[in-house]
Structure formats: C-alpha cells, structure tokens
Symmetry: C2
Subunit: 256 residues, 2 copies
C-alpha cells in the first residue's frame, strides 16, 4: 500500500543543478538526493516525489513543499529522522505530515513567498557569495520600494518570464512585495543586506529574478517607475534589467 506524506524541505542550492531530476545526466539535484534517501528508507526504488515548484540551479529553499508517495507506513517524526540521516547536510526535511492522495503541491498552492538577498556595496565579504548576492551600485531604495508597491495586484507578466517556457496564462497576482533591511547585528561573518520579498499566487520561470533585475535598474535610475509600470502588461517591451543571479534567491513558504 502506498502512503502519501507532505514534507517541508530546506536546502542550500549551491551544489545542485536545481530541484528537478535531470534524466540522462549525472548532475546532482535536490529531488535526486531526496529520492535516493526515500529509497533507502522505504527499501525500494518505487518512490515518488513532487515539489511545489522547480527551483533553478543554485537557488535555495527554506520551505519547499514536497509530496512523497512510498510503500511505507511510519510515524511522521520517525520519517523525518530516517530521511535526514540519508540526506547530505545541505538538504534537510524540517517537517512531515500525512497527506491525502489527492493533494497536489503545485496546483493546490494558494500563494508562494520568495526572498532575494543582496548587498549594494563596492566590495563584498568572503562569506556571502553563496547566500547573498553583491550588486555593487548606488541604489535609490525609496524608488525601489515604489516599484514594489506598483507590483502589488494582478498583472500580466509577459515581460518577466524565461523564453521557451510558454504557459497558458501570464497573469499572476502579487499579494505583497517590499524590501527589508537586515542589520548585521552579531552576525559578523555575513554583511548587512537587503531582502526583496514577494508573495504571489504563482510565479513564472525566472520571474522573481527578472523582477529583481528590473527593480535594481529602477534603483540605479536606469529605468523610470513609469517604464517599470508600463512593462506590467501583455505588450512585449525591451527587457528592463538582468536576470538576477540564482544564489540570492530563496523559496521561503508555500501556502495551501
């Protein structure tokens, strides 16, 4: 009999080629490592896992939600321990609960939260690169926060997705978006920095990183708030900024 569980998984994406198993390659992926651990725990290759979203190579997660289906009945607390013993230390299951067979981690999600961590210093620290991206430019935070406000609501994100990943609709709703300042405090080994925080009902491929890149360019004065606003529609315009690098991005929470 197959049992279904809903896992919350945390990972540091640095060493992995993203969430999704890459068939026919030797590249390590989070799902590949998880399935391997599940096979050990369930003592069979007959294991399945489904993530709430594919994170790209180098992207991190604090709360990826994964439905797993394995032929094993086990208390969830023991399941967490058994899986973690078999995972590398940069992938951790932090919670497990039993799940209905019908639960679908992607389709059933009502909202997702992403964070993008960056500094704007000329130099960077020796400890930050895998966790916090350095964007070494003078940034007008007030303008960037105005851009965040513009993002809230329902928009067509035709200008903010990775070409080649066509979907049926580019319309998504952003519930919340802002920029937080994280002081260094006693975290001497890592720098004070900013978090671009965005919550929405769904995100297209590379959408958060493209939005971050555009918001950076608003902050640098390379594009105006008007240009930013008018790109939020179905008409294709020239790209507003870079795809921000993956190492600053965190999938933080998925709500159902």
């Amino acid at each position: 009999m197959i049992s279904h569980y809903k896992l919350t998984v945390q990972y540091k994406g640095t060493k992995y080629s993203g969430w999704q198993i890459q068939v026919g390659t030797n590249e390590a992926t989070i799902q590949g490592e998880l399935n391997r651990a599940l096979s050990v725990v369930a003592k069979t290759e007959d294991v399945r896992s489904m993530g709430s979203g594919r994170t790209d190579s180098g992207v991190h997660a604090l709360g990826q939600v994964v439905k797993i289906s394995i032929p094993l009945v086990i208390p969830t607390e023991n399941l967490v321990k058994a899986i973690n013993v078999n995972l590398p230390d940069d992938i951790r299951v932090i919670h497990a609960e039993t799940s209905h067979e019908e639960f679908h981690p992607t389709v059933d999600a009502t909202s997702k939260e992403y964070h993008y961590r960056f500094t704007s210093r000329r130099g960077f620290t020796a400890f930050q690169n895998e966790l916090i991206v350095n964007h070494p430019f003078d940034l007008d935070l007030e303008k960037m926060r105005a851009a965040c406000k513009i993002l809230i609501g329902e928009h067509d994100f035709t200008n903010f997705f990775c070409e080649g990943t066509e979907v049926s609709s580019y319309v998504r709703t952003i519930f919340s978006c802002d920029i937080m300042e994280i002081p260094q405090g006693d975290w001497e080994m890592l720098p004070p920095h900013f978090v671009f925080r965005i919550v929405g009902n769904g995100f297209l491929k590379q959408m958060v990183r493209l939005l971050m890149g555009a918001v950076w360019n608003v902050g640098r004065g390379k594009i105006s708030l008007e240009e930013f606003q008018s790109a939020l529609g179905p008409t294709k315009v020239q790209r507003l900024g870079p795809v921000a690098p993956p190492n600053g991005l965190y999938m933080v929470r998925v709500n159902y």
Copy 2:
C-alpha cells in the same frame, strides 16, 4: 626596492587546507592563493607573505593579519582592489596599510580574538554546516559560562594543545572569555546559535578547539567545573573533551 604592507584578510576556510602553503602538494591554501594574486599584481614571483597565525584546514578568518613584501610601490587603496580582483571570492583583503620592515605579525601581536559558533539542537539547518557547528546535546549554559570565567587569567595549557607541536612555554594569558547568544532575527537562512568568544595573548595549536570541546563537556555534565579547573596546570591529565570541528572557528582580530 621591496615594499612592506600590513593586510587584514577575511576568508571562508571551507575549501582550503588552512592558511599555510603546503610545499609539495596540490592542496589549495589561503597563503597560496594570496601569493598567486600578489605575483600577478607585482608582476614577479618574488613575493612574500607572513600571517599572524596558521589557521587549520576549514577554519575561517574575519581579520587575519598578513605582512606582505613585494617589489612594488602602490597606494594601499589600489593595492586592496588589485589583490581582490585576483583572489577567489571566498578570500578578501579588507584593509591595507604600509608597514615597517621590522613589523612581525606573529611576534608583535599583543592579543588575538577567536570565536567559535555552535548550535545545540537535535537537528540542524541546511545552511549552517560550513559556518556554525551543530553540537546536538542539552547544554547547561550557566556552567559553561562559569568555565569561561575560570579560563580568564594566566594558565599553563599543557592539556590544551595538539601533540607534536611542542613550544618553549605552554603558559598563556586569557584576557576575556564568554558565551554570547546570537538570535536569528531576520537571518532566516541561518539558525540562532552561541558564540564562544576568547581573547588571549596567544594560543597553542588547536587550543581554542580543545577548550571548546572541554567547555561543551562541562555543559553536558560529563566533567565538573573542578575537573576543568584542575586541568589548567602543568600536570598532564586525561583529555577533557573532543577537538571541536574546524568549521565553527573564526580568527576574528589580532591586536598590536
């Protein structure tokens, strides 16, 4: 003409076999990377560097002090930029000043500060392992702080050094020692943790890691404060605890 400079260097030790160049091996070291960068900047192999102390494989530094001697006169601000461009991103020069020829970064040091970062949770997060060690035991912080107080003053550290590294004296003075609590705050990707902080006039090889191991065992109730105190003398006793792993240790500051 040879110029001398005093550099302050920060590094994440994870990928390196310690500070010191290993002659006859291919292992990457901080000094090896630094010398390579200096050779590019000074356009000659005739470069020398001397650190204030050798950090072991995997140990980090926030403020290693390094005297360099190169046949190049250059403003210190430009020197910092030129070296950093040629270093990997997990090694950063954060400050440079001109130095007398007589300056000796080891002998002239009046005190050094080390930090050891650890958590005591049953589980650990996916992001901490390279920066914060997990020591998954119930710890009595009050007792550990009492042990820190006992450490302050002049002691013979015969029981707290790595065998095979005999020196002329095992007596060192500890000026300050305590345990700080670092709250998570907005640093969601890393856990709240403790910092064992120690300042002294000098440290024997692996002394801080052996002290950390003993203080952990005080916290676990495996050794009493009396046993801890009586090990601080010239008489060899049984080892009081493990050598704490290198990944939690940071060389923070060197004072002259």
